[in-house]
Symmetry: C2
Subunit: 714 residues, 2 copies
């Protein structure tokens, strides 16, 4: 899964060094800060070779063919098959694969059915995506191995009840139902997909006393309301089903081993003590929701609740006498799966880790989710491995990670973080997430501000379209924003959650969108859909591969880590100031504003750090000094990790960024402050403010030390 929030940030760039085209340098590649002419020549040659090898549409296509052959949800036989296939792909490019085996608590689909009970009539409503009733052209995309619609971690049960329509099932929607005097007690709630993480729909429905929950895709949200349906166009067809997990625990990863690795013999939590869903929850297409919704005769819907089906929606059944029977059976058990990793060892700072990841488990074929990222990952690995064999190894170690069981609740990557906690804390310099990356050709990026500058540099170094090399990815990205790059904020919904929000490694998610379609978690997330809707030329995947290749070459190069701490303080101050305006009390507001001032003062002070501003020359540092510089920069990056974690969810340790705990996908800046504001809890805000002030010192101190280090070397 990947639903990264688009709380976009327009970066007002400081003065970035302009491209100084050297004689032999390609005109479009600006020299990044910190490289002398000679250093740059070496770096650029390496990058050029990497690009030559990585930007390979035939290979992208071949990997795509290999990984999309069968549906492969985590914990199934096909999952095990997939692990071997991924290992083989590493082997083929000369990387010895590592299987990091884990034993998480996973659900298994057993059965599901939905029945409309109307008087004597019993109408079976489809819980499978059926080509019948849709275009026959879709038939070849339908494989018998695709499971029916199911929501991982649903409760098991068989209930027959009246229904209540709850719009998107957000916190606000359930509050509205309460305001309207509509009880969900003992009812089956029907909610449409969208607006929040589906796990919250289930959580709120259960909290409201519902006996069951049906989630469906409304045609207003991904059908005729958006565009042409599959197979003519790319949007949902009437029977298309969005599968997905509904786990909402206060930590990512295996439910039974929070904070520690899910090894075979790990100490485990008793599942009975966990807040996993108890009621049956079922996802369907609108073909199954329509016969229910159109029979409702009760209360008219409030503003914003009408969907796209051709009748007025109702909140309640009114005098319509029908019932709905919902039957779901799932088994939960400890099952083996694995992450599949390929490592290209660094030659200068081998202990330092750049991690590039994409999950591999998929609800169906995964052509879009996740393998629109997997193909980029392998293209990068192929190039880095080839150059390493030719004697051009990266300065730092690069780990290429295929994460398992992400769809179940970001399990594989989290378990790897927990299994490598110390090493990651000391040496993790960047996590690049590629989940579902190449879904179009419009570049998008969400990132920790520490990585803004290096991303900008990378996008300026490669062409958006090799056939028109004058326009860089940066030019295309910022064409509508007056040359100002827009970064999203990393929220929930993919593998950066463990690496960034728990382990504190500066993270970035690269993507490309703009295609006219959504195949998300449905049976048509297959190669035919991808090649028809996203494109058969892999232009988006190639573009991202180019950007990512340069990004890796810079982050895993020989020089000082190209972090941009100034962005961290600038954005942090701006976002905290915005929150201060909503503070629950004047004294709390004044406290926050004082922290904002402190952040601005620290920014001014760091602005004087030449090493960060102008770049530290790459080859000018001996290994010991370079190692110490990296240690200090990594310490600064970890400053935002709070040992106590966030209020009510201590596993989330990043105080700079977090997920919206009321919706799941959206991101929050300064999440502990934000939670206190949302709850109107001044004491919580004050406590969070104290944590930020201390963290700010932890952020500034090592950076000052680094300056001293560089000064001493002069």
């Amino acid at each position: 899964m990947k639903r990264v929030a688009l709380g976009l940030v327009v970066l007002l760039l400081g003065v970035l060094p302009t491209a100084r085209a050297e004689d032999e340098a390609p005109r479009a590649v600006p020299r990044p800060p910190g490289y002398s002419g000679r250093d740059w020549s070496v770096q650029r040659d390496w990058e050029r070779k990497l690009l030559e090898c990585a930007d390979d549409p035939a290979y992208l296509r071949a990997v795509h063919d290999a990984v999309c052959e069968r549906p492969h949800p985590a914990g199934t036989a096909q999952d095990a098959w997939m692990i071997e296939r991924l290992a083989a792909l590493f082997h083929d490019i000369g990387i010895e694969p590592e299987r990091h085996e884990i034993w998480p608590y996973l659900p298994r689909f057993v059965s599901a059915s939905l029945t409309l009970v109307d008087g004597e009539e019993r109408v079976a409503l489809p819980v499978r995506e059926l080509p019948e009733g849709e275009s026959e052209a879709d038939f070849d995309a339908y494989y018998k191995e695709v499971l029916p619609g199911w929501n991982a971690y649903s409760g098991s049960g068989d209930v027959t009840a009246e229904v209540v329509y709850a719009n998107y099932g957000t916190r606000e929607d359930f509050a509205k139902l309460a305001e309207l005097g509509v009880s969900c007690d003992g009812k089956i709630v029907v909610a449409r997909y969208g607006k929040n993480y589906r796990g919250y729909k289930a959580k709120f429905a259960e909290a409201a006393g519902a006996a069951g929950l049906i989630m469906y895709t409304d045609p207003a949200d991904s059908g005729w309301g958006r565009g042409l349906s599959w197979p003519e166009g790319g949007y949902a067809a009437p029977s298309s089903i969005q599968r997905g997990s509904i786990k909402t625990l206060p930590y990512a990863g295996d439910p039974l081993t929070p904070g520690r690795p899910a090894t075979k013999d790990a100490a485990r939590v008793d599942p009975a003590t966990l807040a996993l869903p108890k009621i049956p929850v079922q996802c369907v297409g609108w073909i199954a929701a329509q016969p229910i919704l159109e029979r409702m005769r009760g209360q008219d819907v409030p503003a914003g609740w009408q969907g796209g089906l051709p009748f007025r929606y109702r909140v309640t059944q009114g005098d319509a006498p029908f019932r709905v029977r919902l039957q779901v059976e799932q088994e939960r058990r400890i099952a083996k799966t694995a992450n599949v990793l390929g490592v290209v060892k660094g030659s200068r700072y081998p202990e330092q880790l750049v991690i590039v990841g994409c999950h591999f488990d998929a609800w169906t074929f995964g052509a879009g989710d996740p393998h629109a990222g997997t193909i980029v990952l392998y293209a990068l690995a192929k190039a880095l491995a080839q150059e390493a064999r030719r004697g051009n190894a990266p300065g730092r170690t690069i780990v290429f990670a295929n994460w398992g069981a992400e769809e179940m609740g970001i399990i594989g990557s989290t378990e790897w973080c927990e299994a490598n906690a110390e090493r990651l804390d000391e040496h993790g310099v960047m996590y690049l997430n590629l989940d579902m990356a190449a879904m179009g050709t419009t570049f998008r990026c969400s990132a920790d501000p520490m990585l803004y500058d290096v991303v900008v540099q990378a996008t300026k170094s490669v062409a958006q379209d090799p056939a028109a090399p004058a326009q860089s990815v940066f030019d295309a990205w910022t064409a509508d924003t007056d040359g100002k790059p827009r970064f999203g904020v990393l929220g929930g919904g993919s593998d950066h959650v463990g690496l960034y929000l728990h382990a504190g490694v500066p993270s970035v998610s690269l993507g490309a969108g703009g295609s006219k379609g959504v195949s998300y978690h449905s049976a048509h997330d297959n190669l035919r859909w991808y090649r028809q809707v996203v494109g058969d030329d892999y232009a988006g995947a190639r573009m991202l591969t180019r950007v990512a290749a340069v990004l890796l070459a810079r982050m895993a190069g020989y020089g000082v880590l190209p972090y941009s701490p100034d962005n961290v303080l600038r954005e942090g101050a701006d976002r905290l100031e915005a929150l201060a305006a909503r503070a629950p009390s004047t004294s709390t507001r004044l406290g926050l504003l004082a922290t904002v001032e402190k952040m601005k003062a620290a920014r001014l002070r760091l602005g004087a750090v030449d090493a960060l501003r102008a770049g530290v020359p790459v080859h000018g540092l001996d290994v010991a000094t370079g190692t110490e510089a990296a240690r200090l920069l990594i310490r600064a990056a970890r400053a935002w990790l709070s040992p106590a974690g966030l209020p009510e969810r201590p596993w989330y340790r990043n105080v700079y960024a977090g997920t919206d705990p009321f919706s799941g996908y959206a991101s929050w800046s300064w999440p502990a402050v934000r939670l206190g504001i949302e709850l109107g809890d001044a004491a919580m805000v004050d406590a969070a403010d104290d944590v930020i002030r201390e963290a700010l010192d932890d952020f500034t101190r090592p950076l000052i030390q680094m300056q001293a280090l560089v000064d001493a070397r002069k």
Copy 2:
């Protein structure tokens, strides 16, 4: 018809006199400016008696029964029947009716049909509102006298062609079609109702080369997208049809006698020279549009074009081989109709005219449009006539006008203006429009700023709900706007067009909305719909009657006209300043801003006019002085009339306000300036600016003279 634009204005009230409750005065009635204690006592007693007589739900209901018995479009036999019924109603309340006969050029429905031609198949699509296929409960609302759907002034013709979907058929929509490379040439355009006046859809379609036009009500706009359908709820049913005129000449009224009265033997323009529609145009419900739209297989629609029917809309047919046959026949001829007037003569200033009007012609039964206003008009007339008989005649003459043929193009009221041009110019003090007024209980008002204060005073004087007298209409009106009244700007679409935009009489439209339904121009605009959807208790009509009774009593009372010229300058300056920001050149902008400054200076100067600020004592003036004061105030009100009229439409003489010439319903402030801006024509703006500066002098001068008049009397 009545579709007044809601370019709302929040009035930041100056210091209005606070209620000074006298012993015997009802607590809720604030004394208006200019009344001494004794004057106020007399005025208040009169108002109280008027309210007692007017606020009469049984009478409102009886009038409603009388005027909604049969459908009665202008120029039909039922129209003649209706004229007699209206005369009888006047007679019943002791007013001798006057029939002002006119002979306009009116269309007559002859026949219409719509056929889907798909291979060998011929499917007749309904152009009538048919209870079949809808709820049987609707059957009794369907009378054989209701005509099928028709658009008055459509061309006659019989065409068979491919279709193009044009969204709302606005100027922007047709520009988008051109941008997409879609030709309308020889095609039948299908457009949904909404966003602009339907006449412009026809005009743009014809200009684009279309062979015909089908307009339909989309369920997104008045069906399940808005609420429950008739007869369960109040919104459009699948076969509901919005009828309506499509005339778009650059003047209102009879097409053949622009600027002069349509008497029997008037000199007439040759119809062949007029830009009346040439192509056949037909309105239908979505039940008829759906079979066409769902067969289209061509180009996907752009953003914002998707309607509420359950499939993806297309702009073109693509390879779908069907055709549509559209056949319309209408006859155009000179036909007799009339305005029906009732006059209550003023006792002090009988030559001065307060006009209260509502049209009477209706596409079907007219329960909402127009007779939700007719009932208020008669309730007011009954009260004023009764009190006059008892010796409490108004100070000024009140004309109660039932206008004919408004739906065809604002014909009756315009012809009356043209027949009474001189008298109206000299003595018209206010026009109150009541078209379709009582459609709910939420008070709404659009007005010339000259009338803001008196409207505010009136709404403060009566209760929103007599059962809870503590809350005035003003309180309810401004509950969500912090006590600041919001006034709409009078645009096109009803009888104020002639009186305000041509004759320059300060006008006001009172209304009440908030009901959950739309019956606009459809067969269910009948009493059963009104009483089920708007209400059976006539609460909204009673509320408006109360406000209007006080408004009339103040405007037609004994004192100096309670105009508020300060509002005219304040709003005028604000709106001109907003336009200046969009001026096509710097020098033009500077010119406009200089005019704004001049307006502000004039405002300061008039602010010193005590007579206007504090009110001129009512009984302190002898008749001659009062007459002269009124003359000066009326001269000021007419200052905005330009003899040359607006660019390209000289019949529209008001330079302060006008209709949007690209959409018809929306209103423009300073319309000549605005047109120049929209066209990027600096010379046009400069010329309009000159006209405004001169008008500003004409506005200020008589007001200064009035001050001198009042000073001399001291």
